[in-house]
Amino acid sequence: MRTFQPSPAYTQTTSFMAMTEQRVSYTLDSSLETIDSAEEKATKIATELGFGEDEVMQISMAVREGAVNAVLHGNAYSPEKKVTLAFERTEQDLVITIRDQGPGMDLSKIPNPLAPENLLKTSGRGIFLMRSFMDVVEIRPSTTGTELKLIKRVHGATAGGKEASR
């Protein structure tokens, strides 16, 4: 199995576990650069884990949308607040966690972008896209921030085989 090697410059904590379980996390500023960086990291890791081209696009876009929410709506670009991004490869899943330090997302205000009255709105599609692209999307708001968990199943995964997983 090929392992994904994080760039030391961006690595906050790195813990490689068994061959089938790896975790890497990053602490990032609340900036537009973070959004692009999160997407690039997701693309790299998903590719190295052997996801197909369409799945890589879905994972990277979901991460991008999650990062947008964290940077804009959570931390509101505050230079004092950080975004934590973690990728974890378990035996069955790629689990991505994005945390912000904002006031906590109000889940009751998440719109349905497919409703006729919302169709022509210029925002409000990020969580919908994440839910469309990932197998599991969990949002846990609190007064100290919001934690977003994105899970993509590694279909057909066996004991650590990239080729076998595809």
Binding site: V68, T122, F128
Partner: protein, 114 residues
């Protein structure tokens, strides 16, 4: 790759050739400013050629919607031309494919304006 745009006139229709990414930040701003500029100069028949747009996020989708509604509100029409598979898929799942007038052929797109 950041977004690049170029405009040309074909039989009274403004074709906007877009390339790169329409995402939060520069890409969205470029598109927004361009459409507003075109409308302010009286160019109200607009075709966004997205053949070379390889990536768009929810903010970019929002900008397409904004360009569409802004143009419509000023008595104009904005159509989309030559969607890549990725952009086409996104407009399908967001149900916006039915909102936009999407064309595959430039000549047909130009002729379709009233």
């Amino acid at each position: 790759m950041t977004m690049k745009v170029g405009t040309r006139q074909v039989d009274g229709v403004t074709i906007v050739d877009c390339s790169g990414r329409i995402t939060l930040g520069e890409g969205s701003v470029v598109l927004r400013d361009l459409v507003r500029d075109l409308l302010s100069k009286g160019n109200k028949k607009i075709v966004l050629n997205l053949a070379d747009v390889n990536y768009i996020d929810s903010s970019g989708i929002g900008e397409l919607v904004s360009a569409f509604t802004t143009t419509k509100n000023q008595g104009g029409e904005l159509k989309l031309l030559k969607l890549t598979k990725k952009v086409n898929d996104l407009l399908q799942i967001t149900k916006l494919y039915t909102v936009f007038d999407v064309k595959d052929d430039e000549a047909a797109a130009v002729k379709s304006f009233k």
